[in-house]
Amino acid sequence: MNTREAATDLPPGETGGDWIHEALALYERPLLFYAARFCHDRERARDVVQETFLRLCRQRREAVEERLREWLFTVCRNCALDVARKEGRVNALTEEQERRRGSEPDSATRDVDVRDSVDHVLERMKALPDNQREALQLKFQHGLSYKEIARVTETSIGTVSWLIHAGLASLRERMVRSGQLGTGREARGLEA
């Protein structure tokens, strides 16, 4: 149905693969971070990221270049889900059970007296439901925009907006409550 117009326009001396080498250098680590959270398993994460870049090799450069980051995260996520499904490790029900567990108020949070604020935040994040945590990660750790996150996770921008809003509110509230974060509001006390 679709015909391709074949033409080779590469300037002499440049191998078409350079951009992939660059992409690998730039995104190997971020993708591994992202995949690791998804797969809960480092080896699998590596497989997934490798597969992602192998697929990238099959793309035409101009096709993907402008949205490279989004493409990489999307494909990485898809691969991770495929792997998980193929291994039957996750079906919709267990995924939900994990989420439910994650969203139960304090059962997953340890009450260790941690001083470092970085650890505070990371601890609290673990207690968030998976999808909120993923959205926060993509936004604040990987710097994706709402629109990009929506495309990567295949939901709508409205949902992403809500997830980030809810996740932030949840984190803030827990941290305020446990005194790890002072806010102007708290200083003013309970307010009508």
Partner: protein, 734 residues
Amino acid sequence: MSSENDTKRRAFEDDPRITAYALDELEGAERAEVEALLDEEPAAREFVAELREFSGVLSGALEAEYASGDAPLLSPAARAAIHSRADASGAVGASRPWWRRGRLIAASLVGLAGFGLAGTWWAQTQVADGFLVARLETAAPAARPMEQVPMRKSLTLSSPDGSIEYDLPALVQMEHADKALAPGEEVDLEEVEVSLVTNDPELRLRFMERARGLVDQTAGEPVLGDREVRMLDEYADELGVEFHLQPRSSGEGYDTILENDFLGVQRNPISTFSVDVDTAGYSNVRRFLRDGTLPPADAVRIEELVNYFPYDYALPKGEHPFAVDVEVGAAPWAPRHRLLRIGLRSSPLGTADRKPSNLVFLLDVSGSMDQPDKLPLVKQSLRMLVEEMDARDRVSIVVYAGAAGVVLEPTAGDYDLAILAALERLDAGGSTNGGEGIQRAYALARENFLEEGNNRVVLATDGDFNVGLTGEGELEDLIASEASSGVFLTVLGFGTGNLQDNRMEALADKGNGHYAYIDSLNEARKVLVGEVGASLETVAKDVKIQLEFNPDRVLAYRLIGYENRLLAAQDFADDTKDAGEIGAGHRVTALYEIVPAGESLAVPGWSAEFAAQQARTSSEGNAAVTPLSGLGELRLRYKQPQGTESRLLTQPLDDSLASFAELSDDTRFAAAVAGYGMLLRGSKYAGTARWRDVIDWAAGALGGDPGGYRTEFHGLAIEAQRLSAQRAERVKDR
């Protein structure tokens, strides 16, 4: 997330837009709105500052984790494999794009027959047959099969020099299947959406060429800016076409509607369509207006606006479950044309006659439903419905939010407390997986199937259908096959920003049910309680209407609305072709604008060449089997709810000499609503109608106004007038 026991939460704390604003994710109109809010509430501004500070803390923490993290890198072997594959692929040919990488102008596209698509393919950006298409890519091979999108006709595009051909289905699919789109495609403009209303490919081509030319001229990023928009506006005037310009609505999905044109009777003597009693379009448009914005043109389905109101048509008396009521008079926006108003009315069922119902509520309780206009409203709406039920009925509740759960086993309808308690316990949270839930719901419905009853799944959602296990095509198949075995589906839409209007309508369609949008308790009362017989009880199914016009009396006609209900002439008698349902107490209204024979046709889009074609074929015209008199003949086919063979009614269509003022209140009011719809769509067929006229027509036709809906409409028309004037001002000021 929201706990009421702590501090009293201020409204802006629960508004995701505030968060989005704090993170610099809002633009355009939304951003302006929030800024206005912040100007009014200093406390909100402080809150934004706090949010920003906190997000800084969060970023810092995550970045620190990343920096210090010991995520193992890929093994050297893996990296080597990637590098060598990269080098091997270096020789892949690059194609020359016909158009510099730019943004897509969303053209009004013809709808198409649905089918799925998978695998690797791409398209170039080009102008072909007037459709401007962006570069579209998928990952290779497709990470998941492309989801199907319901569409209507098919078209093949070829490039101006004929060297490349595209199947339009594929392109339209990419355009609309927002969830299945892979990265790499460019579909929407940052600020505006441009859509052109015309069937004429020539005009479209010229318009798009001009648009392309304008974009090419801009320096730097190719974006349609104010100046370009104004120039396009002027150009559209030159061409005599209408085009819309509206802010991009985020997250909501509407099928493009290409308005019905005038059709000449010589070539198209027969008009056929399926009835529709969905009313979601009206309440959805109302929601936009109440929120202070004009709706996107594609959300305005005129037949749904007109059908929202209870008209006082004659009740059925004979053997058929409904009566037909026809009226003809002058069209108020084109005085030399006639307006033909067709009305159907079925008898309302007394509660004693009401068939018992077996209802399974399938409720979306995903996180995004946790807003006041969503889950809480769902609960209240269903509560009202349940109160109308009794011991003969069965109610069950199934939720979907990642896991499918039966929240209430089938319970007799008079056990109010048990049912209401189950509803109360519902809470939003988690993500959505509609697939499992739907299967469970249908299973429950079948287990409790009432032979002589009304068996239905009532789906309430804000638009999240993440059907993880089933693709959309499979979902539709399931719904259709259940409907054919007697379990129908009604879809209720709630909330804003995520409404998958097109999908919901399509699903309701497949499920032999209908789709309503519930934006308030009043609407819930109207849809669920007031029409409980109508909503749930089908008295006739596969109802089709066909008109054959008499070429001696009629030159041309235009069906107003029903664009996505059109049928081919031969589908009318074909009982295997599905159509819409009529429930007890329903009214259905359809409007035609008719150009009498002898009039010259001065309507937009009717080019001289087309008119010449009409003249040429007049001598070889399709003669009706029996000669028609008057304006022509109206035919109706329907099946009984459990029947398989259709029954036919026919009725002659006579003209009257009535002026507009002499028409009944109902017809004049319906005309006002049609006018409102056409103006909101920016239709080129609105004739001489202006907002002032629509308001006057409505005011003059309020009649008894049962339920107060007409008065409400009058108010909405005034609001729409105000918003249109505002927008016109803004465009001028650019």
